[in-house]
C-alpha cells in the first residue's frame, strides 16, 4: 500500500499527504495539551511519522516475500515488534539531535518513553494486520478467478463435446434414414423426426449444469437408442439394467450417452452380425456406477477416433470432481468394458 503511494505516477499522493498532515497536526496538538511546546511537538511528531512511514514501507516489503501463515503467530508479531523498535529508536535519536536545546521537551519525552514505544508497536502491528488481510483477500480473489477459469474450461469442453456429438455421422445418417423412410414409410419417418428433435432438444438444453436423475438419463438414452435402432435395428441389441435403488441417484447430463454412442460405434464397426451391448446402473457405497460393455475387435487396429470420446469424458469428470480415477476401462479379447463412478455425496449445486 505504502509502496503504491510512493510511485510517482500514483494519484494516491493526493489522498495520502492530507491524511499524514492531519495525523501530524492531531498528534502534535495532543502532545501540546500535556504541556509541551507546540513547535517541539511538531518536530517530534514529524520526525517520528517519517520513520513510521519508512517502517511501514519496510514491513510491507517483508510481507511481500514472506507472509506468516496460520499458527506462526510469534513471527507475525515479531516483525512489527522489531520494526517498531527500529522506528522508535531512530526517531528518538533524531529528535534528541534536533531538539537538543529543549530540555523540558526531552524530559517530557523520557517520561512518555514506554507509552510512545507501545503506540509505535501497536501502529506497526495494525499495519501488519491490514497487510495480512490484504494478501488473504487477494489470494481469495485469485482462487475465485481460478474457479471461474475452470468453469469456463468445463463449458468449452462441453461445447466441444457437443459439437463432436452432433457433427458428422449420427446427425447426417439419421437425416438420411428419415429421407429414406419418407419413401417407404412416411409415418415412421415422422416419428423419427420427432425422436431426433427431442434428442437434439435435450442435448442443447440450456440448464445442462443441473444434475439429472438416473430415471431421466434412462429416458434420454432410450430416445437415443431408439434412433440408432432405426438405423441399425437389425443388428443392434441394447440391454439396460438397474441394480437396486438407483432411479433417484443423480448424475451430470450427457456423460453416459457419449459412452454408449462410442460403444455402439465400436460394436457395429468392429463386428459383423448382431451386436449386444449392456448398460447397467448400480449404487456402490457412495457412488453411482455406470458400466457399459460392448463387443469389439481388438485386431481392427485403430478405428477412426478411437479413444477420443473417452478422453472427453475423462476430462469432464476431472473438471466436475477434480479426480482422474472415476473412469476405468478394461479390454479383453472379446469385450470392451467402461465404467464411470459418480460420487453421490458430492455438492452438486455449488461446484458446477
Amino acid at each position: 500500500m505504502i509502496s503504491q503511494v510512493f510511485k510517482f505516477s500514483s494519484s494516491l499522493w493526493y489522498k495520502a499527504i492530507p491524511i499524514i498532515l492531519l495525523w501530524i497536526i492531531g498528534v502534535a496538538y495532543l502532545i501540546q495539551s500535556y504541556g509541551a511546546s507546540l513547535i517541539a511537538a511538531f518536530v517530534d511528531v514529524g520526525i517520528c511519522t517519517f520513520y513510521l512511514v519508512l517502517g511501514f514501507f519496510l514491513l510491507e516489503n517483508i510481507f511481500k516475500f514472506y507472509t506468516p501463515q496460520g499458527r506462526r503467530l510469534y513471527i507475525f508479531i515479531a516483525f512489527p515488534f522489531l520494526i517498531s523498535l527500529i522506528v522508535f529508536y531512530s526517531g528518538m535519536f533524531t529528535v534528541e539531535f534536533f531538539l537538543r536545546n529543549e530540555e523540558a521537551y526531552l524530559g517530557f519525552m523520557a517520561d512518555s518513553f514506554i507509552v510512545k514505544l507501545f503506540i509505535t508497536f501497536l501502529l506497526c502491528l495494525g499495519y501488519a494486520l491490514v497487510l495480512l488481510l490484504q494478501t488473504k483477500l487477494e489470494s481469495q480473489l485469485q482462487h475465485k478467478e481460478r474457479e471461474e477459469q475452470i468453469q469456463k474450461l468445463a463449458k468449452e469442453a462441453e461445447l466441444y463435446q457437443l459439437r463432436q456429438q452432433l457433427q458428422p455421422h449420427f446427425l447426417f445418417n439419421s437425416l438420411n434414414s428419415i429421407s429414406s423412410l419418407l419413401h417407404r414409410n412416411p409415418e415412421r419417418a415422422q416419428e423419427m423426426v420427432i425422436q431426433l428433435s427431442e434428442f437434439l432438444r435435450r442435448t442443447i438444453r440450456k440448464d445442462d449444469q443441473k444434475w439429472i436423475s438416473v430415471e431421466e438419463e434412462l429416458a434420454f438414452l432410450h430416445l437415443f437408442v431408439g434412433i440408432e435402432k432405426v438405423r441399425f435395428g437389425h443388428r443392434l441389441c441394447i440391454d439396460f439394467d438397474q441394480k437396486g435403488e438407483v432411479a433417484v441417484c443423480k448424475l451430470p447430463p450427457l456423460l453416459v450417452q457419449p459412452l454408449l454412442e462410442n460403444a455402439i460405434k465400436h460394436g457395429l464397426y468392429g463386428l459383423l452380425g448382431e451386436v449386444n451391448i449392456s448398460v447397467s446402473f448400480s449404487l456402490e457405497e457412495a457412488y453411482l456406477v455406470v458400466r457399459i460393455i460392448n463387443p469389439y475387435d481388438p485386431q481392427a487396429g485403430q478405428a477412426t477416433g478411437e479413444g477420443f470420446g473417452l478422453e472427453v469424458i475423462k476430462r469432464r469428470l476431472f473438471l466436475l470432481f477434480g479426480r482422474h480415477d472415476l473412469l476405468a476401462t478394461q479390454a479383453d479379447s472379446m469385450l470392451f468394458k467402461v465404467q464411470i463412478k459418480i460420487p453421490q455425496n458430492y455438492d452438486q449445486y455449488h461446484h458446477h
Binding site: P168, H169, F172, N173, L175, N176, S177, I178, S179, S180, L181, H183, R184, V230, R231, F232, G233, H234, L268, Y269, G270, L271, L272, D297, Q299, A300, G301, Q302, A303, T304
Partner: protein
Amino acid sequence: MINIIIIDDEPLAASLVEDYLADFPEAVIKAICHDGFEGLKAIKEHNPDLIFLDVQMPKITGFEMLELLEKAPAVIFTTAYDAYAMKAFDAHAVDYLLKPFSKDRFAIAFEKFVKLQGNEEKPIETILSKIDFGGPSERIVLKDKNEIKIIPYSEVRYLEANDDYVNIYTAEGKFLKNKTMKFFESTLNPKQFVRVHRSYIVNLGEITKIEPYEKDGYLLLLKSGGKVPVSKTGYPKLKQVLGL
C-alpha cells in the same frame, strides 16, 4: 443395361439408393450388401458396372474394400463424412454423394456415370492398386488366399520389396500387398519404421543387433531371427532415428 451393386451397412440408406434408382429403367440392381465382405463377394459374382459404396462399414471400410479388388468397377461414394471427399476424388470415383442427398443430386451423379461410360477413351475402371487410399486407420488390409487379413501396423516386423508388390512379414508369416515401398515409407510412422535399404523397411522394435557386413554394409538381426541388410544410404537414416 447397367448392372449395379449397393453397399451400405444401414439398410435404410441402401433402400434409399434403391428407390432413387427406380427412376432409371436401365439400372438393374444385382445385389444389396451390408458390409465390405459381402460387397467383395457380390462384385466377384456379378461383375457390376457401377457400385454405390458407403465408407464407414463393419470391419473394413469402403476404401479398404476397393483396395482388395484387382479390377474395380466405377464407384459412387455415399457417406455422411465430407472428410473423405478428397480421398474419393483421388480414387477416381465417378462422384461423391453426401448423405442426405436429394433425388436431383443423385440423378446428376448417375448421369455423370452414364456419360463417362459412353466415353471409350477414358475408361472408368480405375487401376486401384496404383492409388494410395491409405484408409483412415493404421492398418493394412489384404487378401491372403481366400481370406481377408487386417494387420495393424504395430504387428509388422519388416517389409521387403517384391516387384510390384511388397512382402509384409508378421508373427503369422509373410503376406503380399500390391503397394509400393514408397507408399509404406510415407505412411508408416517414421519413428517406428525406417527404410534401411532400397528393398527393406524395418520395424525398429524388432532389431536386436547391428553387425558389420561386407565392405560398407551392415546387417540387422531381428528378434524373430530374420536378417535384414542395411545399405550405405540406409545406415545414416537408421543411426539418426536410433540417436546413435
